[in-house]
Symmetry: C2
Subunit: 232 residues, 2 copies
Amino acid sequence: MNSGILKPASSPSSKTETSGSRDVLTRLRTDIVSSVFEPETRLKFADMTKRYDVGIGTLREALSQLSSEGFVTVEAGKGFKVSPVSAEELIEITDHFITFEKRAVREAIAHGGEDWETNIVAVHHRLSLIEGLPWERRMERHSEWVERHREFHEAIIAACPGRWLFRLRSIMFDQLDRYRFVTKRAPEGLGGRKLEEHREIMTATLARDADLACALIEQHIRDTSERAIKLL
Amino acid sequence: MNSGILKPASSPSSKTETSGSRDVLTRLRTDIVSSVFEPETRLKFADMTKRYDVGIGTLREALSQLSSEGFVTVEAGKGFKVSPVSAEELIEITDHFITFEKRAVREAIAHGGEDWETNIVAVHHRLSLIEGLPWERRMERHSEWVERHREFHEAIIAACPGRWLFRLRSIMFDQLDRYRFVTKRAPEGLGGRKLEEHREIMTATLARDADLACALIEQHIRDTSERAIKLL
DNA sequence: ACTCTTTCTTTTTTCGAAAATCTGTCTATC
DNA sequence: GATAGACAGATTTTCGAAAAAAGAAAGAGT
């Protein structure tokens, strides 16, 4: 089957066209985050190499990487499978992420300069361009939203000098993305609210009000996670 | 990371290399931790495949894994090199580790059962067998000490139910190991002191005195890290 | 009916050749 | 002398074939 010469990649959602050039690690992670592969699914080399059009070795390296990020689990001799999800894990991840993020925000506010501020304004604008859209159009560009949402939160803490703090936070953020996905098709509700929240977070941060920024971020994250828990 | 597979532990062969019984990932990590390769050293495939007697693909996977653990850094097209070390990073790692460890200890004390207690006593005994030795003999069995030391601290927090907390802690612990190595050849000093400290930590933990255990552990880690900072 | 082999199939894991990329050196040109 | 281009050697990255391991199915013995 799939007699096409290149790129079968018949993902059900063929809206975002960029996937062809991105590397297999990113594509595979995206597919796991967006539940193209359900939890516990075995990721067989034969299928995967065809789907992503890469060699076995390259694929194995990507899977190995994803296993250390926690997205897939590996059992020696039995191959790789998509890591399971659970409400308990989401609670724990949320908890860790909030702890990291609050700490990082304080550091960033303490150390950030003009470039940091400017970048926050810039990426927030990019994000608001999508969040300001009506519901259907937002859904169409969901994967873009995911990316810009990540960019925004990363920009906020970019001035944090602790590299490990940044790194640990990012691991948790990526994990949250996976759970965040389940709220994608949730009823409209907080769509416009998010636009508000992000603007408030930006304002507090640029005003160097660390306490307020932390409180807003904590609420922002907890809201999303709690919605996800209900849908799990 | 190091899943519960029992390792060969002892060094069977006279020379450092030969006998590729342990897998290349473990051996390479050990070599980096014990400064066989200095920081910033480029890890060329040609040399490495000969040294560890594995194929290019296998080696690449190991290096890739180590890069996500933070031991090596990778630049696309320019290969892998041993990550740099710095006093600043040690301070940050120490800080994160202590935060994780204290939290994990409290959880473990709250949740641990009889098996947990028993295992702590057992691995502490194994550790004390080395720490009770005179200085020269301790040095001879340093790599065994590293392993048993890890086992001991892992046993203390084994009952902690948070899997991500455990995981994040372990990443930091592995990083600390690398810095801990520089204190290996430090003047005798705290050799006997450590034996004391570990016994105190065990006693406090088994007595379910979380506050005391946390305080002891924090002191224990900070002492070691501060000694390392001076030697950096 | 059950279990222990044996054999065959599927899947993972390893390996080294070949392609792509980078680095440094030499030469032509201004 | 400085700059750009091109060549050669070294190094990384990719790929798929082949070996090793796991799983499934069939057969023999109890």
